[in-house]
Amino acid sequence: MAKVMHYDGVVIGAGHNGMICAGYLGKSGQKILVVEKNMEVGGGLDSHEDRNYPGFWHNIHSVFHRGLMMLPWFQDLEMERMGIHYYKPDPGVVQHFLDRTYLGWFADVERTIATIEQFSPKDAASFRDIWGRWQPVVKNVVFPETYCPPIPIDEKRSLLEGLPEGREYLRYFDTTPEQFILEHFEHTRVRAFIGFLAVMRGYELDAPNTGYLVPAMIAWGVNPQLCRGTSHALGDNLAHMLSHNGVDYIEAVGVERILVEGGRATGVVLEDGTVVHAKSFVASNVNPVETFIKLVGAENLDSEFSAKAAAFKFSKTTPIFATNLALNERPRYITEDAHPEVAESFMHIVGLETYEDLRNLFDDCRTGQLPRKPFMNGATPSYHDPTQAPPGKATAFMWQLSPYNLWGNPLNWDKVRGEWFERQLGVWRQYAPNLTEDNILSRDSTTPLDIERHDRNMYEGDWMVGEYTGDQALENRPFPGWGHYRTPVTGLYLCGSSCHPGGNITGAPGYNAAQTIARDLGLKLWWEPLDLRRQLREMNDRVAASATAAG
């Protein structure tokens, strides 16, 4: 006899977005169950102990987090009280070159600009200009847009056209990241630096309607932060947050089916046959193909929507091959002698010498070839957070963007794993010559296929969980017309990275979905959500008022 449970709401998938969404609604008084397929909660917040040497912890997925402690959910849900703390290394990023020069991204923009200046005074000037012009755009448009359900473009245009920061935003809205970069920067290294950092956020170089994200990134700053005690600490502590807010969760059992009765989601059936009734809602943190095609089933959807769901695109350029090392001593970069400050950097980029390298990588990923010229970004987490390695020892990793469908079949990664690891290590060694055999205690790899194996939600190893292109961004994410976290099945919501604003550890899809669900259920909001629409209207009113006053 199958077990039966009763809840107000069920959240499918204990990734960070699912847990944030459940936390808000649990604190609103809803009785919620979060169901996680893996033994460990956290989704991409995943860290493993080295399998040869204990005490070395590798951050298997997400590592570079952006200003989480400032975010509304972090504060609303009192994550600091759960013990979460972030290190903020400065510089945030250093790109090393073989001629022992570097480009760096510092907390102080003038120091960033100084590193650009050595290659191109013109690019330095351009960078300073964009940085200054885009400060209000980020503050008043891009940041609140991230943490609000998206506003359809026509309405948004009308709200933005009357504002200087709005016009700035719209000016680049129709472009691609590459168009913006080529137009504003001339030096190949500067182009590569900025282009790669955009790509590492999950953007596509040639995707229309995403070009504005590059100046936004420049003005926002690339200052990644490191979670104390590995990324998984955030996942674990989000689970503790759930318990504190009365939310139940279970792990190690997946959802087999979403129950739909009369066009309404009424619960889920788990892999072990358990039936969980959901009185108010079901929120899915997993991608729309899994949610609709597998869990809801085409029989509960109209054929046009099913076709849309099945056609949801995954990125060919976000999957990663990770080389993780347990080391006697940290990597020492060739640039350190002349520039000791680079040792403090969180992110290190090696092997990327020209913009051409980046372009070629896109071609290789899309055609399923091994990258013709490896270049990578990585870090030495234990340098900033000594708890991640035994005393005096080090952990370090490098990520290579790689195709999932290697030579047409992802299983090929199991065959080339060892060989490709050495290829990446060889490139890394050119920039960090102390990565000798004596120094390396243990090697550990994660292939694009492994990403999907661990996290069934990340189809094709795409940690963005859906290509970030104009037709799958903002109010078009996951599909045009369905950018509001609701679905054609009443009571069924999406709350994961396949929704606005996409992948990465932002918590925004979960935060935004919680608001939508709470409003639909008529719950009193105990938190004060950001409201871009209201903010833009007020700004327009102020502009109008000052025009009247001036007139």
Binding site: M39, S47, H48, E49, R51, N52, Y53, P54, G55, W57, E80, R81, M82, G83, R228, G229, T230, H232, A233, D236, N237, H240, S243, H244, G246, D248, Y249, I250, E251, A252, V253, G254, E271, D272, P386, T387, Q388, P390, P391, T446, D450, I451, R453, H454, D455
Partner: protein, 525 residues
């Protein structure tokens, strides 16, 4: 933030989770500092071969759950979503020529299997089960959840049972003596004795091991697999603890227990932060770690420090091989002869006789990788498909080995482990009929030195921390000065596997220590 607590608990194992939950229910603010990232200590499951394959890399089943008072009191089952599966056969010992002998969950199943080997042993098992069952269930197991009693008190209660004096006579023997006394067949004796080291921590010649033999026969211990893997249990304990207000800090290594005027007042973390404990500090770490490393000998009298240093570790540690498989491990020849083998949670292979086990112990004590190994093989996915990707499987092999190999340093294991893994697999292939190279997707060995580095309280790979010899058991565990969970440092308490009941049941010392803390801190009833 985080600087002041009522009670600081060191180590996120089952005992501190239980104790912390009781303290939270009493309204105290507590924090658990865990030096690893994952909680649960030995209740651990990980994707050590490939993502999607969850291997239990130490504890792989749980017994005596349903009779545990702590399980009931903390509502672990209903309140926090624990799910278990119960394999019908506990252990099958594979013998030459396709023969086997099996210990079933159900008494009649066991008796039928024993009858193939000896009618007398069948009768002896049945008799022991029936006569001693009440003593084990009603007296012995409840004693695991309370502080150890004064010498003689427990025995007096047992002696009052009609079968009490027979029970005590057998219980005082070694496991080997008790087994020899009860059974005539070498197969039956080997079945029992092969389960003494793993998973119980007893050598066959330790005095008092007879009690373990009787618990195995008469205890209806009902070992089960936690659905999804052993770590699920830790997650349940964590949920209960956090739900009652507890806080957990992972990768927070405690370097020092702060002592002022003979009283524990807080801890210093490896990163230099100091946290205060208003009421108590509780250590779930081994006594050497607690007192020599964290308290420091300057706060201890010399005799006590000497006694802590003299605690004897286990004589053996665990060597493990974890396999990601396409098809579940099968023992076709043995299964054809007795279907029970195909339903066994635990398949033991290696010892054909008590003599072989004796040889294994000689080899372990001489520091050799056993030439007469005792392999404990489990294929959890046969019972719980959720521990591997759809239609895929996991299997694990556990075997007792010395912590330090003769002529080697413990650190040498990392170089030797692959060779030993192949040796283990080739031995296993004698009976595991589908363990072909093609079936193995990935294989990973885990050695004793790795174990000791991972769980630092398992000093010298000692899973039970303090050897289960009579001088370190009961009200002497691990030394008389620590046996009541109090320590020479006021406000500092010792729990964990080094203390009574030596991990024979879930969270026993945590609950027993709760009764001590409740009294000391005046927390009412």
């Amino acid at each position: 933030m985080d600087e002041n607590w009522d009670v600081i608990l060191i180590g996120a194992g089952q005992n501190n989770f239980a104790l912390g939950t009781y303290l939270g229910m009493a309204g105290l603010e507590t924090v658990i500092c865990e030096s690893r990232l994952e909680n649960g200590g030995r209740l651990f499951s990980e994707e050590i071969t490939l993502p999607g394959y969850w291997h239990n890399s130490l504890a792989y089943f749980q017994d005596n759950r349903e009779v545990s008072p702590v399980w009931r009191e903390l509502d672990w089952e209903n309140g926090h979503h624990a799910e278990f599966v119960t394999p019908p056969v506990i252990s099958s010992l594979l013998l030459p020529g396709g023969a086997s002998v099996s210990h079933h969950q159900d008494l009649d199943g066991t008796l039928a299997s024993l009858a193939h080997h000896s009618a007398a042993d069948r009768a002896a098992w049945k008799d022991a089960h029936e006569r001693f069952r009440g003593i084990v269930r009603d007296i012995v197991i409840p004693s695991y959840y309370a502080p150890p009693e004064a010498p003689g008190a427990l025995e007096e209660r047992i002696a009052a049972d009609p079968a009490g004096s027979d029970f005590l006579r057998l219980a005082h023997m070694s496991a080997a003596e008790a087994t020899e006394h009860l059974f005539e067949s070498d197969a039956v004796r080997t079945l029992v004795l092969s389960q003494m080291a793993i998973p119980r921590g007893w050598a066959p010649d330790y005095e008092g091991g007879g009690r373990e033999v009787l618990a195995l026969i008469a205890g209806d211990e009902r070992p089960q697999l936690a659905r999804g893997g052993s770590h699920s249990i830790a997650q349940v304990l964590q949920r209960a603890y956090v739900m009652h207000g507890g806080q957990i800090r992972a990768l927070h290594h405690v370097d020092r227990i702060l002592v002022e005027d003979g009283r524990a007042v807080g801890v210093r973390l490896r990163d230099g932060r100091e946290w205060k404990a208003r009421r108590a500090v509780v250590s779930n770490v081994d006594p050497h770690g607690t007192f020599i490393d964290m308290v420091g000998e300057e706060h201890l009298d010399g005799g006590f420090a000497q006694a802590v240093r003299a605690i004897e570790p286990d004589e053996f540690s665990y060597f493990q091989v974890h396999l990601a498989l396409k098809a579940p491990l099968r023992f076709a020849v043995h299964e054809a002869a007795d279907g029970a083998v195909g339903q066994a949670m635990n398949v033991n292979y290696g010892p054909r006789s008590v003599k072989d086990l004796q040889a294994m112990w000689r080899e372990i004590r001489a520091g050799e990788f056993p030439e007469h190994p005792c392999l404990h093989v489990t294929c959890p996915t046969w019972f719980d498909a959720l521990q591997a990707p759809p239609a895929k499987h996991t299997a694990s092999v556990f075997m007792p080995v010395p912590y330090q190999l003769k002529g080697h340093q413990p650190e040498d294991w990392v170089r030797l482990k692959d060779v030993f893994m192949e040796q283990v697999l080739s031995a296993l292939r004698e009976v595991a009929t589908n363990l072909t190279d093609d079936n193995i997707v990935m294989k990973v060995p885990m050695d004793p030195c790795y174990l000791a580095g991972r769980w630092q309280n398992m000093r010298r790979g000692s899973v039970w921390v303090a050897r289960k010899t009579p001088d370190q058991m009961g009200d002497n565990r691990p030394i008389p000065q620590l046996a009541q969970y109090r320590t020479p440092i006021q406000g500092l308490y010792q729990v964990g596997v080094a203390t009574h009941p030596a991990d024979a049941v879930i969270a026993g010392s945590g609950r027993a220590a709760w009764s001590v803390l409740r009294e000391d801190l005046g927390l009412g009833t």
